[in-house]
């Protein structure tokens, strides 16, 4: 029976994605490495500060793994949460695993911790890029209820490859942030179809930001992560400049679009395709025939 990624906790996801019984957690809950800020704010902490980190094998190969718990403060990155992830990446630079696999489920910086959270995000990005420059591979999985927004969205897009389900969402400003800042005319955060059309996994896959698209199934995420252990990964000044040029061109082309389907059709999705109703196999097969995807 399929086990939904969306419904699972961070620890359940990790155990399901890596090889059975191979996960060894660093700083587990009983170590009580939790946020000093939450205590000062008189708010309940989480024993693990909302992130599970450890070592495991994936298809028999060593990996380091992190998983954010979206149900604790929206998976938001605080000082300790960030330090656990940076520490894991530093360890990867020393141990050279086949990949660092990060299961994102986070709305971004933990506002309770303000600057400490912002600094944590920048430290994570620096660690990811530093490790990639040394040839380490980063694979991100996005399919949790909290999505992947704000600083966490930036971290995700610094990875070599991303796996997303339709339920997974990826963006910079989240729907409620856009509505708060620009008004409900700009973006109605309660319009769920709109939210998933413009931030969901299908849109991100069509835009070429997600490298694999899977059903909401932990086993499917695992299979996709295994596949990505060996796909070509490049990180150089040239690859970054190419990506910037691609994004600039995309902005030129789609900057004035008002909704996702306009973009899909420009990329070659047939006008009569019912994208929202397609299962993963149908959608990936359809996307394979879109001339504009990844262009």
């Amino acid at each position: 029976m399929r086990k939904r990624f969306f419904e699972a906790s961070a620890r359940e996801r990790v155990h399901g994605v890596v090889d059975t019984d191979s996960f060894h957690e660093f700083l587990p809950p009983e170590a009580r490495v939790s946020s000093p800020h939450m205590v000062m704010l008189e708010q309940p902490a989480a024993f693990d500060d909302g992130i599970v980190v450890g070592a495991a094998t994936l298809d028999g190969r060593p990996v380091l793994v992190a998983a954010q718990e979206g149900a604790f403060l929206g998976g938001a990155i605080g000082e300790v949460h960030g330090a656990k992830l940076v520490g894991l990446i530093e360890r990867a630079r020393a141990e050279r695993p086949a990949a660092v696999v990060i299961l994102f489920d986070s709305g971004g910086v933990r506002l309770h911790e303000a600057n400490a959270g912002l600094i944590a995000v920048s430290e994570i990005i620096r660690a990811v890029l530093g490790a990639r420059a040394e040839g380490l591979r980063f694979i991100g999985l996005i399919g949790g209820a909290g999505g992947c927004f704000g600083g966490t969205g930036l971290i995700a897009r610094c990875c070599d490859a991303l796996v997303m389900s339709e339920e997974g969402r990826l963006a910079m400003s989240g729907p409620e942030v856009i509505e708060t800042v620009r008004g409900v005319e700009e973006f109605d955060s309660r319009d769920r179809a709109l939210v998933w059309r413009v931030t969901g996994g299908k849109h991100r896959y069509l835009l070429g930001e997600a490298d694999a698209f899977v059903e909401d199934d932990i086993e499917a995420f695992r299979a996709a992560a295994i596949h990505l252990l060996d796909t070509p990964a490049e990180f150089s000044l040239e690859s970054v400049e190419r990506e910037h040029a691609r994004l600039a061109e995309r902005w030129q082309r789609f900057g004035s679009s008002t909704d996702a389907p306009e973009i899909w059709q420009a990329l070659g999705v047939p006008a009569d395709a019912d994208v929202a109703m397609m299962n993963a196999d149908e959608f990936v097969a359809m996307a394979a025939h879109c001339p504009g995807r990844n262009a």
Partner: protein
């Protein structure tokens, strides 16, 4: 925030286990960490709760828990964000089930 500390009577538990965590620190929910430690006929429970002034209800829920389970010799710590008594009981049951299932 309120911190409440209890010791309830309970039958002795199997204590040679790895710590177990269930639940999440989230609105209407709580996380429960179970570890070995303490007197064999007592269960020590340390509660950190966002909801002030519910001491007597915690006392009743935890006393029931001690009667229901062989939790003696265990140390339990709870981070609560306003879970109802039913949810707290459910999480405690789940935690003890996980503790007993663990064949480490």
């Amino acid at each position: 925030m309120e911190r409440l500390q209890y010791e309830v009577e309970a039958r002795g538990a199997a204590t040679a286990r790895k710590p177990v965590l269930v639940g999440v620190t989230a609105s209407g929910n709580c996380e429960v960490l179970v570890e070995a430690g303490g007197a064999p006929e007592r269960c020590a429970i340390d509660v950190h709760t966002a909801a002030q002034g519910f001491g007597p209800i915690w006392q009743a829920v935890l006393r029931d828990f001690g009667e229901r389970h062989a939790a003696g010799g265990l140390k339990i710590e709870i981070h609560d964000v306003g879970a109802t008594p039913a949810v707290v009981s459910l999480r405690l049951d789940q935690a003890l089930e996980a503790w007993e299932d663990d064949d480490a």
